[in-house]
């Protein structure tokens, strides 16, 4: 790789490094800016007088004697009870991931070991579902939910999210299981295992990488969803994302927007941690989809 002919000319090297830096600023700066700004008062974060106020916090100093304040966080978490929404989000995410992985591993395993006539239809449904805006389906779910009085509660939302997510999960796990050689469970069966025992003792120990990757994507889907949760949940059951939208929608009073800023920063933290620990799996999952899809 390091032969002289392949070395970049200095000009190009500088150019490409500069480009990477510009990209990094584009990607990271909005988050850093919002994080910094969430500790200010609104008049600093949206500064009419001078944009440097947002950095130094002139107005915040005037109001609280310090350049930083937790007022936005206090408002969001204590005053507005954001914790309740956080708990709801994690309930939804947990059950969506759990259900889709259970169905996904069992179904994906079964499909990968049967003849591949299903796989085409599975791929097509996964594709169509990937393509359809979730909100088009919400319109279909809503009337029955109203009729049966199921609207506005968490379990139905979880079911809808699982349904939207399932074809994708099945497809991903199916192609993952196909990479596990058939000989593995065949040899287990030769040793006297039943099909289920083979799955339990031979496949489960080796399936974790694929399951974790798929679980991550299910989690992201459930966590990031706005269309389904905002339409199908009643006000007292809202998850984080619709609640943030609601902070903005309610009557405009000073400081209210800072609640939303603080809530946004709080909602970003779990994702940040997720990327930090599971970067390799996310990249792996994305590229696996590209190679096989």
């Amino acid at each position: 790789m390091a032969s002289r002919a392949q070395k970049m000319p200095t000009g190009l090297r500088i150019l490409s490094s500069a480009f990477v830096i510009v990209w990094l600023i584009m990607a990271a700066f909005p988050f850093i800016w919002t994080f910094w700004g969430s500790f200010k008062v609104e008049l600093d974060f949206f500064s009419i007088a001078d944009w440097t106020n947002a950095l130094t916090g002139e107005r915040t100093k005037a109001a609280y004697d310090r350049p930083f304040t937790g007022a936005g966080y206090y408002g969001a978490w204590v005053q507005e009870g954001f914790l309740h929404n956080v708990i709801n989000t994690f309930i939804v995410c947990f059950f969506v991931v759990l259900t889709s992985l259970t169905i996904g591993t069992l179904g994906g395993y079964a499909l990968s070991r049967s003849s591949y006539r299903y796989t085409f239809w599975l791929l097509i449904t996964a594709l169509i579902f990937r393509a359809m805006p979730p909100i088009t389906l919400v319109a279909g779910y809503m009337l029955p939910f109203f009729e049966w009085n199921l609207w506005g509660i968490l379990p139905t939302t979880i079911i809808v999210l699982v349904a939207i997510n399932q074809p994708f999960t099945l497809w991903m796990l199916h192609s993952f299981f196909q990479n596990i050689p058939k000989e593995l469970d065949e040899s287990a069966k030769v040793d006297g295992c039943t099909q289920f025992q083979a799955f339990r003792h031979v496949i489960i120990p080796v399936m974790w990488p694929g399951v974790i990757t798929t679980g991550l994507f299910s989690f992201l889907l459930a966590y990031n969803d706005f269309a389904v949760t905002s339409m199908l949940l009643a006000e007292e059951n809202r998850t984080m994302v619709p609640q943030i939208a609601a902070f903005l929608g309610t009557t405009y009073t000073e400081g209210n927007i800072m609640f939303a800023v603080a809530a946004v920063v709080s909602a970003t933290v779990p994702l940040f941690i997720l990327v930090m620990f599971f970067q390799r799996q996310i990249v792996g999952g994305l590229t696996a989809g590209a190679v096989k899809g």
Binding site: F120, P144, A245, L286
Partner: protein, 326 residues
């Protein structure tokens, strides 16, 4: 599983051909001495309820909802076609009809963002690939952030920055030396902002895929090209890009689908006055006090048809591949 997939689609289809009953009116004549008689029209609650119970789905109206002003607006378009002279005026008039307005933005967004994302992602991938190995992990970490972020939150974060009092908004005002300039006020600026958001959000996805593709780039082909005297640009053009072509198709497909359902940024940017998309139209119908289910359902059906048209080349190709295999 198929129950959950098929049922809502059937439900959407049914809803889209029905509309809620109109209230039954009754006329009541009240006579008071000295003043005389007055007839009042009021809603006959019992009769209305009876009718609603008899047919819970509502009146069957066939395809009427599809053709009314809120959707395909056949009558209005025909009228417009007859009265306007030039194409420009025709399209202008079309832009005032809600469905075509949403369609116009959705298509513009889809077909502008997709190529931009591919080009930008490729550039970032090439640049990162030339970096020192230690730095790559860090760069990938930060690059992933705009992609995994909740779309609504990402849109809000950018929106607060481009607010006329936010940092980017101020910067734009300063660059244009026009202190009254506001992104929120102008349709063109809003569209640009939405498209910038779209690229910002999706570029990491393209970048990661292309970057992975670059790792499998055959070195001997690059060397052969160098021996033949290819310049750096020619190497990229004739060796790297053809190698990545299947990935480009994949990214283009995913991006077409994702951008077609653009929705969150419009809510986040509060941009519905300047740009609406099909998804947003459904959301708008469903939300609010009235909950116009049938109108939303009709738009949903048309969105599904739109997706099907968009996907049909891919579906046909997959079908052929599948046939070829058996």
């Amino acid at each position: 599983m198929f129950l959950f997939i098929a049922m809502p689609i059937v439900s959407v289809l049914t809803q889209s051909v029905f509309t809620p009953h109109e209230a039954v009116f009754k006329e009541v004549e009240t006579c008071t001495p000295l003043v005389g008689c007055t007839t009042e029209t009021s809603i006959d609650q019992d009769a209305t309820r009876a009718l609603r119970d008899a047919q819970p789905l509502g009146r069957f109206v066939g395809l009427d909802i599809y053709f009314n002003r809120g959707h395909l607006a056949v009558a209005e378009v025909g009228e417009l076609w007859k009265t306007t002279e030039s194409w420009g005026a025709f399209l202008d008039g079309l832009g005032n009809l809600p469905f075509y307005r949403a369609m116009g933005f959705t298509l513009t967004f889809t077909f502008l963002v997709t190529p931009l994302v591919i080009a930008f992602g490729l550039l970032v991938a090439l640049a990162v690939n030339a970096l020192h190995a230690r730095l790559k992990g860090l760069v990938i970490f930060f690059s992933l952030l705009p992609f995994v972020i909740t779309p609504l939150i990402g849109a809000l974060v950018l929106f607060w920055m481009i607010d006329s009092r936010g940092i980017l908004g101020s910067a734009v005002q300063w660059l244009a030396s026009d202190p009254g300039l506001s992104l929120k006020a102008s349709t063109g600026m809003m569209w640009i902002a939405l498209i910038v958001y779209g690229v910002w959000h999706a570029a990491p996805f393209a970048f990661v895929i292309f970057y992975a593709g670059l790792q499998t780039l055959p070195q001997d082909q690059i060397e052969a090209a160098q021996i033949d005297g290819a310049t750096r640009w020619q190497q990229v053009r004739y060796v790297v890009v053809p190698h990545l072509m299947p990935l480009v198709t994949f990214v283009a497909l995913i991006q077409l689908m994702d951008n077609f359902r653009v929705f969150e940024p419009i809510v986040g940017f509060n941009a519905s006055a300047h740009a609406t998309s099909l998804s947003w139209a459904i959301f708008n119908d469903l939300g609010g006090e009235t909950r116009q289910l049938s109108s939303a359902a009709a738009t949903s059906v048309m969105t599904i048809i739109g997706v099907a048209i968009l996907l049909s080349p891919v579906l046909v190709r997959t079908w052929r591949d599948f046939k070829g295999k058996t």
